[in-house]
């Protein structure tokens, strides 16, 4: 049997009376590509924020690689191997594209303060390695031509790709993508989805992907969870999801 990488049980969070996520039960096996879909305001982003430690669950447990991550700070969770992108792009916008990626190598840097200040020991070799690996990532996402541009001057689609490149630089085991195709045209979207499947294989990643548009995820995800009003109303293969009456009702509204 494949091994479980992330497991959430009974996770709920309340925002002043509103239960944004309730009794969230789910798991991801190592190597899977899972979709998390649901209508506007269903609680998808909130689920990401709970997994990455931005919010603390009111109840429930979350385990990553067999250890509980509830109560851990976001940076500790990233250091354990979960990296994410943001729905509302959060790049380091005044910095260069290259620096955006370099920053994310942070937790893998071994040189200490003394080596930094006096530029001895591992400083030069590690900085060189960071620069090379960053350029490699930028090349994968076709951003190497923009390496020295300010991130804020990139076109929208490129900014979304940079967010993914930056998350990968943190060398995660699990990658969380929050609507990575939002605002892209159909052609860009198609390329992005192909790229996601490709990097998953190339980096041996496990991926959890939020998408608004159901048809998009159908093609590439192995399993899909559907969220509505903070609750999981269905989970299964794309085919099962497509035929699930609950899901059809949630997406088409009342009648079905």
């Amino acid at each position: 049997m494949s091994e479980v990488l992330l497991k959430a049980e009974n996770v709920s969070i309340v925002f002043g009376g509103l239960k944004a996520v309730s009794d969230f039960d789910f798991y991801i096996n190592k190597g899977e590509l899972i979709g998390l879909i649901g209508p506007n305001g269903a609680g998808k982003t909130t689920a990401f924020n709970l997994i990455t430690g931005v919010y603390q669950p009111t109840t429930g447990s979350i385990e990553f690689a067999g250890k509980s991550i509830v109560g851990k700070k976001p940076y500790e969770i990233t250091q354990r191997g979960i990296a994410r992108t943001f729905q509302n792009i959060r790049l380091f916008s005044e910095l260069t594209v290259l620096d955006n990626v370099k920053i994310a190598f942070h937790s893998h840097v071994k040189y200490g303060l003394a080596e930094t200040v006096f530029r001895v020991g591992r400083y030069f070799s590690e900085e060189k390695q960071i620069e090379e690996e960053s350029m490699k990532l930028l090349k994968i996402f076709k951003l190497d031509g923009h390496a020295y541009d300010q991130a804020k001057n990139l076109p929208y689609g490129a900014q979304r790709r940079l967010e993914i490149a930056r998350a990968l630089a943190a060398k995660p085991k699990l990658l969380l993508l929050d609507e990575p195709a939002a605002g892209m045209n159909p052609q860009e979207t198609k390329e992005l989805m192909e790229m996601i499947s490709w990097i998953r294989k190339e980096f041996g990643l496990t991926v959890l992907l939020i998408e608004h548009d159901m048809s998009l995820v159908m093609g590439i995800c192995e399993r899909i969870y559907v969220l509505e009003y903070g609750m999981i109303i269905a989970n299964g293969t794309p085919k099962e999801i497509q035929e699930n009456p609950e899901v059809i009702r949630a997406y088409l509204g009342g009648e079905a």
């Binding site: 959060r90 910095l95 942070h106 943190a170």
Partner: protein, 316 residues
């Protein structure tokens, strides 16, 4: 990567040449003692501005209490040399350590605050430090600390300034410095990239405070008497002005800012009644025409002519 080391050496060489020229001018009395004093003040202000820039400009934490740490360094230093007869260098180190320690203790709880709230809290802490010193009879209270041996000279200031610039430049051009800059740019994203934001905010604040302590120690030993009145929040404003005038997040900018501010006030010294009026107007006009400061985020090493000397080493 040897390129970076080469750039460092070119910089060091250039600095030493400038130092030698100025030192000769001072020894041969071509520069009067008035201008020697101003060179010393510029050097001290550069240390203050660059260390404040690390906190405000690079890490984006709005601190208005920098003069408080300077006071701690100054008083620690003069106590070391005057009461304990320790060597000057020991006094400088002690000033740095004590100011840094205080920065750490203050930074830990207060750096949770954001923006203007942090600004007023640090301003208040700077004032508290000054008022406490004012009430310590051991160091002379409000009347000031008297009987200091004059240790500070141009050579000490220049070399320590160089050291400070070297340390802070290397810090900001490393993974640690990038962590600080990431916090300035977007704290939530920085945290999501595995950066312990609290640790780096406190680290920047501590390093900045320690160098303010160094500057304070140099400042304290430049006179025969120092008093708490030199370290009010208006002094902190003055260092902030240097940083913003030069450009937040630019070391070159902080040097320029410290130079321009000190130079303007030296040149206007003969007209005391107009000095501050002109200074105020200059400040307002500068903000109108260059709100991002003289250098923005730029460094001199990444500009036109210097590009050729300092080949692409991609230091920001």
């Amino acid at each position: 990567m040897n390129l970076l080391r080469k750039n460092d050496l070119i910089m060091l060489g250039l600095s030493l040449v400038i130092f030698a020229i100025l030192q000769v001018l001072i020894t041969t009395k071509v520069l009067t003692s008035f201008w020697e004093l101003n060179l010393i003040i510029i050097g001290i202000n550069v240390i203050m501005a660059v260390s404040l820039n690390l906190i405000n400009g690079y890490t984006g934490q709005f601190s208005l209490g920098h003069a408080g740490f300077m006071a701690v360094g100054a008083y620690t230093g003069v106590v070391m040399t005057t009461f304990f007869h320790l060597p000057f260098i020991v006094a400088i180190i002690a000033g740095a350590v004590l100011a840094g320690l205080l920065g750490f203790l203050i930074g830990l709880p207060t750096l949770r605050l954001r923006g203007d709230y942090l600004a007023i809290a640090t301003l208040g802490l700077g004032e508290i430090i000054r008022i406490v010193i004012m009430n310590l009879d051991y160091v002379g209270g409000a009347a000031g600390f008297k009987g200091i041996t004059h240790h500070t000279n141009f050579a000490w200031v220049f070399l320590i300034m160089l050291f400070t610039l070297f340390v802070i430049k290397n810090f900001v051009n490393s993974s640690h410095g990038r962590a600080c800059i990431a916090i300035r740019e977007n704290e939530i994203a920085a945290e999501a990239m595995g950066i312990n934001t609290t640790k780096y905010k406190v680290m920047a604040f501590t390093i900045g405070a320690a160098f303010a302590g160094v500057a304070g120690c140099l400042f304290g030993h430049n006179f025969y008497i120092i008093s708490p009145g030199s370290f009010t929040f208006l002094a902190s404003f003055n260092y902030l002005i240097m940083v913003v005038m030069g450009g937040l997040g630019s070391i070159t900018g902080s040097i320029a800012g410290a130079f321009v501010v000190t130079f303007i006030s030296a040149v206007l010294a003969p007209w005391p009644e107009f000095r501050m009026i002109i200074y105020a107007l200059a400040l307002i006009l500068l903000m109108f025409y260059r709100p991002q400061g003289l250098f923005g985020y730029m460094e001199v090493t990444s500009m036109g002519i210097f590009r050729r000397i300092f080949k692409r080493g991609h230091e920001s």
